[in-house]
């Protein structure tokens, strides 16, 4: 297995001279599921946004399959085979479901067949395709967001807390779906607060705190690490299991 996405000594932030991420290193193996965990405000979303080109990078590199993609324009992501599911506001509420999908599919050559495939993957979306996306339930919104990200058959999916705010059952379904993507060859970098659940499905795990790498290792090892269990799995915040 080789690394498909590599992040080396990355520094990025919203305000000049005030980096949120400091010397972050990370590599994601091809067709694996890598999860990033860490406390609120650790910089997990900032890391994903820096990869996507939404946050300016001041130092370090992002490499995709050997090519340097540091500081790309966000609209170029799709062409590189990257897709991104933001943590919040990840669908266009005022557009219908069909319009949301048509928008992301407009550069896809076989858009009609792809649309059918996506509807087959997410039947609830097909049933409501003429409705405004803002009228969807939480789980259906995440479905639409994932469908939009999948539309261009990406090589790499960046997903920021896709299970946040969902009921435990739906959250588990979303994580299973994420897992199943890797079986189809998609590489996934996932940010999660549902630490226990995420570690069960993930291959590898990075822990980020205060914008720096804290710890990383195979998900199973992290899950059984007594110190991690103490800090991240014992607290009431993770009582989801």
């Amino acid at each position: 297995m080789t690394a498909l996405l590599t992040i080396a000594a990355l520094e990025a932030g919203y305000v000049r001279d005030l980096p949120i991420l400091r010397q972050v290193n990370l590599s994601v193996m091809r067709a694996s599921l890598t999860v990033i965990i860490g406390p609120n405000g650790a910089g997990k979303s900032t890391l994903i946004k820096a990869i996507a080109g939404l946050v300016p990078v001041s130092a370090g590199t992002v490499t995709l399959d050997g090519a340097d993609i540091t500081g790309i324009r966000p609209d170029q992501m799709g062409a590189l085979g990257l897709a991104y599911v933001p943590q919040t506001d990840n669908i266009f509420r005022h557009l219908t479901i069909r319009e949301n999908l048509a928008l992301v599919l407009r550069r896809v050559p076989d858009r009609t067949t792809r649309l059918d495939e996506l509807y087959a993957l997410f039947p609830p979306l097909a049933a409501k395709q003429a409705d405004r996306a803002g009228s969807l339930s939480g789980g259906q919104r995440q479905m639409l967001a994932v469908a939009m990200a999948l539309s261009g058959r990406p090589r790499v999916m960046l997903m920021d807390e896709p299970s946040a705010g969902l009921s435990p059952k739906i959250a588990a379904e979303v994580l299973d779906l994420t897992r199943s993507l890797t079986a189809q060859g998609v590489t996934v970098l996932l940010v999660e607060q549902n630490v226990k659940q995420a570690l069960r499905v993930a291959d590898h795990c990075y822990i980020l705190a205060e914008g720096r790498n804290q710890l990383d290792g195979p998900a199973a090892a992290i899950l059984s690490d007594p110190m991690v269990a103490e800090i991240y799995l014992g607290g009431k915040r993770v009582g989801a299991a």
Binding site: V15, K49, N90, D160
Partner: protein, 326 residues
């Protein structure tokens, strides 16, 4: 010689009055980040208010109460403040550009009233015959001109001094904090909307003071004096001088007023007769160009604000490039 001195006194009086307006705008825009698109209305409210309360009675005309100058001036200033308060209450809690639009609207509405409500404002011909303070006592027009200049300079100095005190106090720091980062200011327990409203009203009242002085100077006011170009001139003065710096505001007022009168004089003297009709537009283009070029080339003005260099302002820009909604 006397002619030259009178002319210089005339020039300096007008520049001083405008400098007071610019100081008022500096409190709003420079220190609090509030856009006033209708400077002329607040200036006009001070002018008409003072005229109506302190002017001589005319048949068929409301007003002409012959109040003593200071009382009439206070009335005009309160009128300017009241208009600012109403506009501010309605717009300051909204998106920042609502204030810009509403104040621009105030100026348009004010001009409509000045032109049409003849019973109140004299309509297009305006109101005349203001008893200039102490004119009878001093007598000599030349000496009176100099005395009036001294009074304007005294008021300018007083406004300058008061504003310096204000902006250097904790209150002034709170205003700047709101300008730079409303969320942070709120989390420090400041009430941004109330502070903004206060700053807006005080700034507009200062403009009203200048309007009152203007009426006392010319003893006359008409819609012609409230042409929208005045708003642009005052802005150009502030942006050339340096927003957020009271010395810059005063400097800008004298510089731009000098450039304005100078260019008007040069055009009327040297431009071909056929072009005389177009001296106004040429001067307007110059003012517009000064505003745009300064914003592009040196947005901090000739005398930049010293304290913070607007660090957070440019900095927060980075965050808004991608308009992070997530």
């Amino acid at each position: 010689m006397i002619g030259l001195i009178s002319y210089l006194a005339f020039f300096a009086t007008m520049a001083g009055i405008l400098a007071i307006v610019v100081l008022g705008l500096n409190l709003q825009w420079g220190y609090t980040g509030l856009f006033n698109g209708g400077v002329v209305a607040f200036f006009g409210a001070g002018a008409y208010g003072t005229m109506i309360l302190g002017g001589r009675p005319e048949p068929g005309q409301f007003g002409g109460f012959e109040w003593p100058f200071l009382f009439a001036l206070a009335g005009g200033v309160l009128l300017a403040g009241a208009i600012a308060w109403i506009v501010g209450i309605l717009t300051l809690r909204l998106r920042h550009d609502y204030l810009a639009i509403a104040t621009f609207g105030v100026a348009v509405a004010f001009e409509s009233i000045a032109r049409n409500a003849e019973w109140l404002t004299g309509g297009a011909k305006g109101l005349r015959g203001f008893p200039r303070p102490l004119e009878a006592a001093i007598g000599n027009t030349f000496v009176y001109g100099l005395c009036f200049l001294a009074m304007v300079m005294a008021v300018l100095a007083a406004v300058y001094w008061a504003l310096q005190r204000l902006v250097q106090s904790p209150y002034g720091r709170a205003l700047r904090a709101i300008r730079e980062d409303e969320v942070a200011a709120r989390s420090l327990g400041k009430n941004p909307t109330r502070l903004r409203l206060q700053s807006f009203v005080i700034g507009s009242m200062i403009m009203g003071v200048a309007g009152g002085l203007y009426v006392a100077f010319y003893a006359f006011v008409s819609p012609q004096d409230l042409a929208p170009i005045l708003t642009f001139q005052v802005w150009a003065m502030l942006i050339v001088g340096g927003a957020g710096n009271n010395r810059g505001a005063v400097l800008g007022a004298f510089l731009i007023w000098g450039a304005w009168t100078g260019s008007g004089f040069a055009l009327s003297k040297f431009a071909p007769a056929a072009m005389q009709l177009y001296t106004g537009p040429i001067q307007y283009i110059l003012i517009g160009t000064v505003i745009v070029v300064m914003l592009l080339w040196r947005p901090q003005g000739l005398l930049p604000e010293r304290i913070t260099q607007r660090f957070t302002k440019t900095a927060s820009k980075v965050g808004t490039t991608s308009k992070g909604a997530f």
